[in-house]
């Protein structure tokens, strides 16, 4: 039976470097190591191109090469005959390999030396096993297809968007064994992602933001592909970058208007997959682990499929949440507690409760509108429709994130204070509850 790349995918995890034999135009052989032999599909492999070298010259002169890869658990070796097709130096494949290589480089003490110049794509012409007995390999700890089936059923059972967000991460833990995870959604402008749910951290980090293109999560969003880093690396550490940024600004734990990213200080494995609904990117699902090489190709595939299921579920509940709209009531029980100062900065719609930063952006603008209506007219009951019709909030007409923003806002309020709350009262309706009176300050 002809071997395909699928059958030997476990050899391509980068833990044992491949060896590459090429031939110069004059017939001189050359042998070199290759940090990454990456699975593209069953008929294509991509090799990391890191240095301009003899190998590079040979491949361009003589595109047929041979590569040996080794299964890191069984010791089984395979020889691949490959034909060079092209080099990609941008795009999903390149970014996927770049992230992986950063992890490998850091693990091998080669950070700053290994740098991906390109992903060399080859057609697989033939795969031959090197003969001889190999070690028995233990069965994988879980069947990911069975896990995916169970996870899909659990997602389908969620009726509310708010519950779905938490369910998505609990399912990731229960079905896939992922103990630390985040769910981030794409902001209206499409340039940032914000956390709406997290699992497995001391602080929830709800509301924390990652720019599209930044790190594992940002690149997964930008390229709409799974990004996996198999080892701890400073290059892809959010917590470290945040700490350094804060220090650069002169001290404090975090930036004044940033909610700290809740992730592990030094994850040894990171995997981010896009959450998509059809062709639309909704956000990113992020999983991390203190173990090295926790996520392999099969995990990437399983979580990518799960991300697509989740996207469809989110879109469905966003649409149904927007359906039923009634006229708001205007009941106004007066709050009792001591007044609290609420400051709004128009430049970025950031909100401070007393001296504590609450939120900014669209969620901040929504909060300010609610707080004003409450403080000036004593309003308590609101509906989604009036927010959507308010041009000052700049909500997009389609692909509405409003429900998600309200969930984010209500979660931030629940975390940051005990005198303000947003409670859902029906489809597309909610209550703004304040047990202290609000003293609003437009801070300019």
């Amino acid at each position: 039976m002809k071997l395909t790349l699928d059958a030997i995918r476990d050899c391509l995890d980068g833990s044992i470097p491949g060896t590459l034999a090429t031939c110069a135009a004059d017939g001189t052989p050359n042998v070199t190591f290759v940090s990454q032999v990456d699975y593209v599909d069953s008929e294509h492999a991509a090799l990391s191109f890191q240095f301009f070298s003899k190998t590079r010259e040979n491949v361009l002169a003589n595109p047929e090469v041979r590569v040996t890869v080794v299964n890191p658990l069984s010791g089984a070796s395979y020889q691949l005959r490959l034909r060079y097709l092209r080099t990609e130096s941008a795009g999903p494949l390149f970014e996927r390999m770049k992230a992986k290589l950063a992890g490998i480089a850091s693990h091998e003490g080669m950070a700053g030396v290994f740098r991906l110049r390109g992903s060399d794509v080859y057609r697989v012409l033939d795969i031959q096993p090197v003969p001889g007995p190999v070690l028995a390999v233990e069965a994988p700890r879980r069947n990911l297809l069975a896990a995916l089936r169970q996870a899909s059923a659990r997602l389908a059972a969620s009726q509310e968007l708010d519950a779905l967000f938490d369910q998505a991460l609990a399912t990731l833990r229960d079905c896939f064994g992922v103990e630390h995870s985040l769910l981030l959604l794409l902001a209206e402008a499409g340039d940032r992602l914000y956390t709406v749910a997290s699992l497995g951290y001391a602080r929830s980090g709800v509301g924390s933001e990652i720019a599209v293109g930044d790190g594992v999560i940002g690149v997964a969003a930008q390229q709409r592909t799974a990004i996996c880093v198999p080892h701890a690396t400073a290059e892809y550490s959010y917590v470290r970058a945040q700490r350094e940024a804060a220090l650069a600004l002169g001290g404090g734990e975090t930036l004044p208007r940033e909610i700290p990213f809740p992730g592990l200080a030094e994850p040894h494995s990171q995997l981010a997959v896009p959450i998509v609904a059809g062709s639309r990117l909704l956000g990113v699902l992020y999983a991390e682990s203190p173990e090295d090489r926790r996520f392999g190709y099969d995990d990437e595939d399983a979580l990518s499929a799960y991300g697509a299921q989740l996207g469809t579920a989110i879109q469905l509940l966003q649409q149904s949440a927007a359906e039923d709209e009634g006229e708001p009531e205007t009941a106004s029980p007066r709050p009792l507690g001591a007044p609290v100062q609420v400051r709004h900065y128009a430049a970025d719609d950031s909100i401070f409760l007393g001296e504590d930063y609450l939120i900014k952006g669209v969620a901040g603008a929504i909060f300010w509108k609610l707080a004003k209506a409450h403080a000036e007219g004593g309003r308590v009951e609101f509906c989604n429709r009036e927010l959507r019709l308010d041009a000052t909030l700049r909500l997009p007409e389609v692909g509405d994130n409003l429900e998600t923003r309200l969930i984010l806002l209500s979660r931030r309020l629940a975390e940051r204070c005990d005198y303000l709350a947003i409670e859902k009262t029906g489809r597309g309706r909610f209550r703004f509850k304040a047990t202290r009176s609000l003293r609003l300050v437009e801070a300019g």
Binding site: G27, T28, P29, T32, R66, S77, G109, L135
Partner: protein, 163 residues
Amino acid sequence: MPSRAAALTLAAEHQAFIQGGVSITAGSVNAEHLPSMARAIGCAVNADGRQVRLLFCPVRAGGLLADIAAGGRVAVTFSQPTSNRTLQLKGRDARVEAGSAEDEALRERYARAFVADLAKLHFPEALVRVLLQVLAPAPVAVVFQPEAAYSQTPGPGAGAALP
């Protein structure tokens, strides 16, 4: 490849390196310029530092040995897994010889050194032994005179010819 009439004399430091616990992969080419390759399972340098003797399993390295027997071209890369220090030798006069009784001792000495280096990276001995197995009564040898040596340690100096 630089055209050199005489064989290279390997510096003592390089001799010690390629006879230590390093990963050894040899490559050759056939008449159609298609490369072949195999893992070597032992290396010895002769007394004057001008000839290298490599051991192979005749079954696992069949394609490489056939190309060497037919064309004599060889490239051999030696790399220490724990340091990534890498060196490549090339020659044009490689020939295949039957293994000798001494080769068995060389093979075991090499296996122990390679196992020891990989143990530092947490690769178990049983796994390394799979890579070094011989599916025949004895290993065979490839003998050649290096004409060129290159440093291939990853970094800016990779590919530079060694004196």
